[in-house]
């Protein structure tokens, strides 16, 4: 089932279907390896509820929930 990354919970393993949105934020995300086909493990949510931390391509990356909303994903297992 397709959903967006901001709907995921810590521990979820997902694969990126596509990244929507545009502009520098999207570009930055892509540069950091958030591209189609990449697997993501949702690590955690910051103590104040935002941003989130994920493991992608073997390293840890953080971005905001609002931007996670532009990342369309498919869940692998939970």
């Amino acid at each position: 089932m397709e959903t967006t990354l901001n709907e995921c919970r810590p521990g979820d393993k997902v694969v990126i279907v596509r990244v929507s949105g545009e502009g520098p934020v999207k570009r930055r995300l892509m540069d950091m390896g958030v591209t189609r086909g990449a697997e993501i493990l949702v690590r955690k949510v910051a103590p104040m509820g935002d941003p989130i931390e994920v493991n992608i391509r073997g390293y840890e990356l953080t971005f905001r929930k609002a931007d996670a909303g532009n990342i369309i994903i498919q869940k692998l297992e939970s």
Binding site: R18, V19, E22, P24, V25, K26, R27, R28, L29, M30, D31, M32, G33, T35, R36, G37, A38, K44, A46, P47, M48, G49, D50, P51, E53, R57, G58, Y59, E60, L61, T62, F63, R64, D67
Partner: protein, 680 residues
């Protein structure tokens, strides 16, 4: 023959370590033309050839979105180094190779330094280096920069590549893109080659034109027919791949990398357990524990820095300079029969002036040492991660947190640290707010007044000023965001590097990197300033040496501007002069107060000075004075840093005007409010 090698790599790949290893003590630091991003250069030691090594800023990609990326890109394209040494973190190879795929398009020979091999091995992973070389089409040299392993081979290889490239033997180029994109690129390539030969390497230019890179388009100015061809090609591809061009390109780069990795990298089967880094992280960013732990860390850093160790070193150096050295020099000058004014200039002006800042060097260094620990261990980026939400409320992002915290040490490096912010508005706003973080140089002023007027609650009073600075920064952030800096704040996309135990060597390098600016300031700006202050206090407008400071140039100017401060509770000329000299260096406020109260050179611990201040200050006035000292325009070195970073006189003047205006208003509220409450 001489060569130029450029070091390029992602942040945290070990580039600083590598640069230091290769160049040793031959390095020197300048600025990139027009901007203040530091430019480090050195000579490769232990080689008889003349090899200049240039350290480019740490970057993730060559997209033209941040200053650092543009600098790196332009340097490689315009200065054409003989070899680009691309440092790749082997433990994070997938993302690191993304930059590599961009670098090999630039038409300059690339040598990959596969760094952190020791860490990779201890993890049990393996990389098939000959295979990787073949797939990337460039030489790959395994290194462990922190153990000085492989660095010699790296330079030897680069030298070899540079020499063979000089005779026209470039390595085979490889293709990153799939058939269809490649076909389109080749099509464009035949059009573009005659146009861009001189400016850009054709392959790079085609990709960039297709992506719609504005800088490249502006520079190449393709004619309208060609532009139309680009647009239709882009349109066609975007439709076929159902995505925008930049995404397609980035996608394909990563797909290429995935292919490379799947063949060359053997990961030890993960047993699914948590690494040590994960375990530490679980505690440090724990939902409930994280914030208290963060506050505790900050508290420890500050008590150590500003507490006993700091105070001890300050007193020690103070004595060394202002007593031992000053006395020795005075004796020397007397026995040489020097004129009175010369004695006054050297001892009262220069030694005292330099002394007033040199006493802070150890403390600032200790602070930078701790900041280096926080940064090298990986904790600083976690702090940014935790604070992002909070900073967003004032229209900034977690990335602004690091400069703001550094501001507590010294505004100059803090202002320089704003360079990591990509969005110009965010950078400007952060620069305006950072000086409100009370820097180390303001501490002696508080120390003096707190001891004189709040003897029973000194720490509390000093602490309250730090908090006041932060509150003013927050309120200013909200205000400015709603007025001058309307619009979206910068996005927050940040790598969280693994926790590492910092090495002493690494800490020393980073501490020195940041702290040397402060020492340089002592040697240049403060030196000049001491002379100016001395002059202003010793002579009157007709250039006669005066007996009483009140008759001097500063005395007259102070008396002239004093009414401006009267509503704040300190409308006497001495306070005005002290604040004026504080523009040169905040530390100078105390020294000036000493001189103006006819006590000569005294430190902030002087009982005589306190007694004399008590005759014309009340606790409320003292607090208003400290408030003003906290908030008004920063010292001249910070002013210069602001000017450089803002790269605009308008913004620089706005910044100092805003700060001084805020200082006046807040002090006014403190003083008049306090009087209304009957505290005066």
């Amino acid at each position: 023959m001489s060569f130029k090698f450029a070091l390029v790599g992602n942040p945290n790949c070990g580039k600083t370590t590598m640069f230091n290893e290769v160049t040793g003590s031959t390095q020197h630091v300048g600025n990139w033309p027009g901007v203040t991003v530091e430019k480090k250069e050195g000579k490769a030691r232990r080689f008889k050839e003349d090899i200049r090594v240039i350290d480019l800023p740490g970057i993730y990609s060559l997209s033209p979105y941040s200053l650092e990326e543009i600098i790196s890109r332009n340097y490689i394209l315009e200065e054409k180094p003989d070899v680009v040494i691309n440092i790749v973190d082997a433990t994070n190879i997938e993302r690191n190779l993304y930059l590599t795929t961009q670098l090999i398009e630039l038409g300059i020979p690339v040598v990959v330094a596969l760094n952190m091999m020791d860490a990779l091995e201890s993890r049990g992973d393996q990389i098939d280096i000959p295979r990787l070389e073949k797939q990337l089409g460039v030489p790959v040299i395994p290194t462990s920069a922190n153990k000085a392993q492989g660095t010699k081979e790296l330079i030897e290889k680069s030298l070899q590549v540079a020499q063979s490239a000089a005779t026209g033997q470039l390595g085979e180029s490889i293709t990153i893109f799939d058939e269809q994109i490649k076909k389109s690129l080749d099509e464009l390539l035949s059009f573009i080659t005659p146009q861009c030969n001189q400016v850009y390497p054709p392959r790079f230019a085609t990709v960039k034109l297709l992506e719609g890179d504005e800088i490249v388009i502006a520079k190449l100015q393709p004619n309208s027919a060609f532009m139309a061809l680009i647009t239709t090609t882009r349109g066609r591809l975007e439709q076929e791949y159902d995505n925008d061009m930049e995404t397609i390109v980035a996608d394909q780069r990563y797909q290429f990398i995935s292919k490379v990795i799947s063949k060359s990298v053997k990961k030890k089967l993960s047993v699914g357990g948590l690494t040590v880094s994960d375990k530490i992280d679980k505690i440090l960013t724990h939902r409930i524990l994280a914030i208290p732990l963060f506050l505790l860390v900050m508290y420890v850093v500050f008590t150590i820095t500003f507490g006993f160790i700091g105070t001890f070193t300050i007193d020690y150096i103070d004595h060394l300079i202002n007593v031992t050295l000053a006395d020795a020099v005075t004796t020397l000058l007397h026995s040489a029969g020097a004129a009175e004014w010369l004695d006054s200039l050297i001892v009262g002006g220069i030694i005292a002036g330099l002394g007033s800042i040199l006493v802070f060097v150890p403390q600032i260094m200790i602070l930078f040492f701790f900041l280096a620990i926080l940064e090298d261990s990986g904790y600083m980026s976690r702090a940014a991660f935790m604070m992002d939400r909070l900073l967003r409320k004032i229209g900034l992002s977690g990335k602004s947190f690091i400069p703001m915290i550094m501001g507590i040490g010294c505004s100059v490096p803090a202002i320089m640290a704003t360079r990591t912010l990509e969005n110009e508005k965010d950078r400007r706003l952060t620069i305006i707010l950072t000086p409100f973080m009370s820097c180390g140089a303001r501490l002696p002023v508080y120390a003096l007044f707190a001891a004189a007027f709040f003897a029973n609650a000194q720490s509390l009073v000093i602490f309250s000023l730090y908090i006041l600075g932060m509150v003013v920064a927050i309120l200013s952030g909200i205000l400015l965001r709603k007025t001058l800096f309307k619009g979206e704040a910068e996005a927050f996309v940040m790598e969280l590097p693994p926790y590492r135990i910092p090495t002493i060597k690494g800490l020393m390098i980073h501490m020195w990197d940041k702290g040397k600016g402060f020492i340089k300031k002592a040697g240049t700006v403060i030196f000049a300033a001491s002379v100016i202050i001395w002059f202003g206090q010793t002579f009157d407008f007709s250039l006669h040496m005066v007996e009483e400071v009140s008759d001097s140039i500063f005395g007259s100017v102070g008396a002239f501007i004093a009414p401006f401060f009267a509503p704040l509770g300190f409308g006497d000329w001495r306070s005005s002069v002290a604040l004026l000299t504080g523009f040169v260096a905040k530390e100078a406020v105390v020294a000036t107060m000493g001189i103006l109260n006819n006590l000569g050179e005294v430190g902030e611990g002087s009982v005589e000075l306190m007694a004399s201040l008590q005759t014309y200050f009340t606790p409320l006035k003292a607090y208003a004075f400290m408030t003003f000292t906290l908030l008004y325009m920063p010292c001249i070195a910070a002013f210069a840093a602001i000017k450089r970073e803002m790269n605009s006189w308008k913004w620089t003047l706005f910044t100092v005007g805003y700060q001084t205006g805020t200082a006046w208003i807040v002090s006014f509220i403190v003083y008049q409010g306090g009087k209304l409450l009957g505290l005066g």
